[in-house]
Amino acid sequence: MKNCEYQQIDPQALPTPNPTPPPHQGHDSDKREEPRRPRRRWEVFPGKNRFYCDGRLILARQSGVLPLTLGLILVTSGLFFIFDCPFLVKHLTSCIPVIGGVLFVFVVTTLLQTSFTDPGILPRATPDEAADIEKQIDNTGNTSYRPPPRTKEVLINQQVVKLKYCFTCKMFRPPRTSHCSLCDNCVERFDHHCPWVGNCVGKRNYRFFYTFIVSLSFLTAFIFGCVTTHLALRAQGGKGLVFALQESPGSAVELVICFFSVWSILGLSGFHTYLVASNLTTNEDIKGSWSGKSGEDVTNPYSHRNIFINCCSVLCGPMPPSLIDRRGFLPADESAQTSGADVELPALATKSEMHVCTQGTKGLLESATLSPLLSTSCPQGKPQTGPTCPDNSPATDPSPELSGSCGVRHAASSTGDTSSPRHTKTGSRKSKQAALHIPNPTFDVPVSPTSSNTGPSSKDRGHKGASFTPLH
């Protein structure tokens, strides 16, 4: 498994071939503060995610039952290769372990890719953008005491689609985007949050997820078939099934696991094949967005009206890039700022930091315009105050996301670590010590009260109606 431990960035060991100039160079000239460890953006990411390998891998904070999924796959496949393959190779063909091996590699690779890929998280709006949107909403001429409308209607392929305003991310959600309450992120083309893979399934990792469940159903069916054949061959000649099971106990375990999982996995694969063919998401299907339940003539505006093209666009379309910058460095000045109000201070962009002194107009323009952006990547920036708005919970629509899950929800974990917006908790002592050493207690103080107040309220609401639904 590719899961390497979270590593602190050691200023002495800063790698030189970084695309951005390491901000620690700025420390030498800055006599006011002690030298700081340069932080990467993933360390101040506002969503509830965990990052590994210095920001390369992303996972939901609640990893759900991913270890169980992986464990079951490894155990079953391991038993298959140990107990069944030797017998079947001898009595049937040596293709069996080859096919099994290929399927196993596919399953594990796609599972890890589904779990550790950014599903299509939308970064939260900068304060400038949020203010601009607020201004536009208020300009609708609403002078009454009632809050202004927080939905916007757009026409997509002659179909009216309502865009909702996300109070956490401070923006109007693009079409097909939904806010996952477990990960606290808006995810593009949100399908569902899958506890089995420990991540949301969205635009960027849907193809991995689909390949995973399809190859898993092939693998499960294949192992089930092989185990049955194996036991049947052993039980030949009047020896009986019990004898066969005694000779090969591992096969019994495999039989049980495969028998109980093959139906749900096959069902899930079938369901998602239908979704792919009609270019729907689980979220839309469950909400009945395009099924015409409301009596109007609604059709899916995103469908290409051709099954083949739908499948190709979902599974073989261009791979969109990750919109969140995980591995970029925060500027050195950011670590020193005590509040997001210092927008006008020259918080320099990492790209232009070393060049501001030498460039002319353009450099000054860039530094001036990028400073507001950078101050918002700190958790003490305005986006963190979003959840305090009482309208937050309805707007985030937690129930559709929940009902779209394909497994058990851990309601108890909702009250977990909400006091720290930085989600780098890995349980390693080194990281905790390093966190204490981070010389910006000012970061923690303003943030914890606000987020701890709002976290449980939105999470509790979001976790009602938890249910185990292996099949949709």
Binding site: L155, R189, R207, G317, K362, A368
Partner: protein, 146 residues
């Protein structure tokens, strides 16, 4: 340090007077397109045709990145056959076009927008939500030219 102080002053003087955000246009679905409507705040700074040309070119570039053509299908099928491990070593078509877009924006800024006191920000830095156009106050320009 005196030098740093004067630079800071200049930057503070070069504070952004206003920011204009060009939002996404969802008329064609979820493909990345931006509205070509000319914002009123830019009327005094740049002419409409120029601005709309820039946004239209950006839209075309994004359409090219997300195009469902034979190239993307081949790339997708190859990736599927290799259990998507090919994404770890290969730069995708989308990423290549994003680089082209970054270069285009920089070029536009250098040639057209910066001389008029405007600065376009690459939408990828804003999560492909908006094209941000910053208006820099004229007073700052005088300082910066010193």
């Amino acid at each position: 340090m005196a030098e740093t102080h004067s630079l800071q002053d200049m930057r503070q003087q070069a504070a952004v007077a206003a920011k204009v955000f060009i939002q996404r246009d969802y008329a064609n679905g979820t493909v990345c397109q931006f509205q070509t409507k000319f914002p009123s705040e830019l009327e005094t700074r740049i002419d409409k045709q120029q601005f709309e040309e820039t946004v239209r070119t950006l839209n075309n570039l994004y359409a090219e990145a997300e195009k469902l053509g034979s190239q993307s299908y081949i790339e997708g099928c190859l990736a599927c056959l290799t259990a998507y491990t090919v994404f770890l070593c290969m730069e995708t078509h989308y990423e290549k076009v994003l680089k082209k877009i970054a270069k285009y924006i920089q070029e536009q800024n250098d040639k057209i927008y910066a001389p008029r006191g405007l600065l376009l920000t690459d939408p990828i830095e804003r999560g492909l939500r908006v094209v941000s156009c910053a208006l820099v106050s004229v007073a700052a320009k005088k300082y910066s030219l010193l």
